[in-house]
Amino acid sequence: MRVRLGSGQWAAWAFLAPVVVYLVVFYAYPLYRNVELSLRNYTVRSFVRGDAPFAGFDNYLKVFDDPAFGPALWHTVVFTVVSLVFQFTIGLALALFFVRNFPLSATLRALFLVPWLLPLIVSASTWTWLLNSESGVVNAALGVVGLGPVNWLTSPDWSLWSVTIANIWIGVPFNLVVLYSGLQAIPASVYEAAALDGANRRQRFWRITFPLLRPVSAITLLLGLVYTLKVFDIIWIMTRGGPSGSSTTFATWSYRLGFGNLVPSFGPGAAVGNLLIVAALVFGLVYVRTLHRRVP
């Protein structure tokens, strides 16, 4: 038994070897660099010369002390949770809708992916265009039905919702396509058996589709979480995190500190970025634990 298991392990790791090499070669250095940036006191000069003094956790303390920390944390949570919930439910609903073939279904499903073909600078700029308070088409449409204009991007009360809506739009195709292939992988025979047992549509969804879709749903949500935590370009292009910090999340804050200024502060920027990595780590742990509980 032990010998067989050993040889199985060898085979498994032989299959994993390419990805392990890949991880070490391409991710280890950037990750190391991000950690190193956050632990040293970088100025532009020491960045170029590579001789920044070790600063311990100073950058992190600076970040925690910053008055922007609390609001940024709250915005990150709201942005992430609201985006995830809507992306996933809309994506799942659309996947269920498209799973029964009808004329044009494959083509329409493909068209849903078109937003992903656009560089984010273009799709996010298009959203700024739509939501412009003076000349945006959304306010023009609201005017037609008799509602007053909304300062989507320029009011601190609305900016976070505007960027969230744009982000949901970007995220729906991803959820749709992954969940759709997940639905396709469920054998039709299972449904046939359930139909024979007289299960109705609702029962079939909750007793068959939902449980069988769980591994794919879990990974979709987890990846969605990681991607949403990381989103900065949409927000950056649409509002620059403003006005007055009202749509600043950790990701945009990190970008502003490190790259969005004439004088970059690499240290605090990297520190904020690493806090996000820690957040993803926590959720990753939850994921791995639930996976192991399911597959003993």
Partner: protein
């Protein structure tokens, strides 16, 4: 009933693609009408200036983007598929830790990745080259591909793999002739995203290939982003022109996501 569904499907797609329509609308709009309030819903009194600018200059970029996109797909699948098989079915010790690392790998901000690659690529001599950019773009997709393929492959019926083993197939044979064909849907999905990410990537291209002889279409947009002034109709026209060939590819690829692949195999 099926026709009703088509109608609903069309309506949903229209809502989803409205921003894309708006992009098309802007691409035809004259400068003086861009911020008209209320805006024109259709490009009345439009201009083809944006497209003239784009077709003059942008076509070579499309070819490069295509090569980069397809290269990224191949590299991603080659690296990710075996790993996903191992994680899903071979239960390697430490597999959990590896999945975990893959997850964290994706959290590194793109711009930090780009900075890291810059140093590595410079000393390896692949800065400003297409292969270099393919490798960089694949890092967007590989962790995703491994995790998603693992999720799909762990859903493959164990009895199929057992049967193959009984027939005397080794691990490699099982992977090649059973697991891969059965994972067709997942492979198409993963390839689609690998392609899309490479196609629309901006951060890596601008850090690692801005001085290159062959640049992807996303960098073509820079022709219209001046120091103080941006030509938005040309920017949008570039995006429209860039998305047409890729959209055709998507429609074709979606046809290969077929129903009942696993079901058929189980019945056999």
């Amino acid at each position: 009933m099926r026709r009703v569904k088509t109608a609903i499907g069309l309506a949903l797609t229209a809502v989803m693609l409205f921003p894309v329509y708006w992009m098309v609308n802007v691409s035809f709009t004259r400068d003086e009408n861009m911020r008209r309030s209320p805006p024109h819903w259709f490009p009345v009194d439009g201009t083809l200036e944006g497209y003239r600018a784009v077709l003059d200059k942008q076509l070579p970029y499309l070819g490069t983007s295509l090569v980069i996109g397809l290269g990224t797909v191949v590299l991603t699948v080659v690296v990710a598929a075996p790993a996903a098989y191992a994680l899903a079915k071979l239960r390697p010790r430490g597999g959990g830790v590896l999945s975990f690392l893959l997850l964290i790998a994706q959290m590194i901000p793109g711009i930090i990745m780009a900075m890291g690659f810059y140093a590595v690529f410079l000393s390896a001599g692949v800065l400003n080259t297409v292969p270099g950019l393919i490798v960089a773009d694949s890092t967007l997709a590989v962790p995703f591909a491994v995790l998603v393929l693992t999720a799909f492959m762990s859903g493959l019926p164990e009895e199929l793999l057992q049967a193959a083993r009984v027939d005397g197939a080794g691990t490699v044979r099982t992977f090649w002739s059973i697991v891969l064909p059965l994972s067709r849907n997942a492979l198409v999905t993963v390839s689609l995203f690998a392609f899309l990410w490479a196609w629309s990537d901006f951060v890596f291209a601008s850090t690692l290939d801005q001085g290159g002889d062959h640049q992807p279409i996303t960098l073509g947009i820079y022709h219209y982003i001046g120091h103080n002034n941006q030509e938005w109709n040309a920017i949008m026209a570039t995006a429209v022109v860039a998305s047409i060939p890729a959209a055709v590819l998507l429609v074709i690829a979606q046809r290969y996501v077929a129903a009942g692949v696993t079901a058929g195999a189980v019945k056999d």
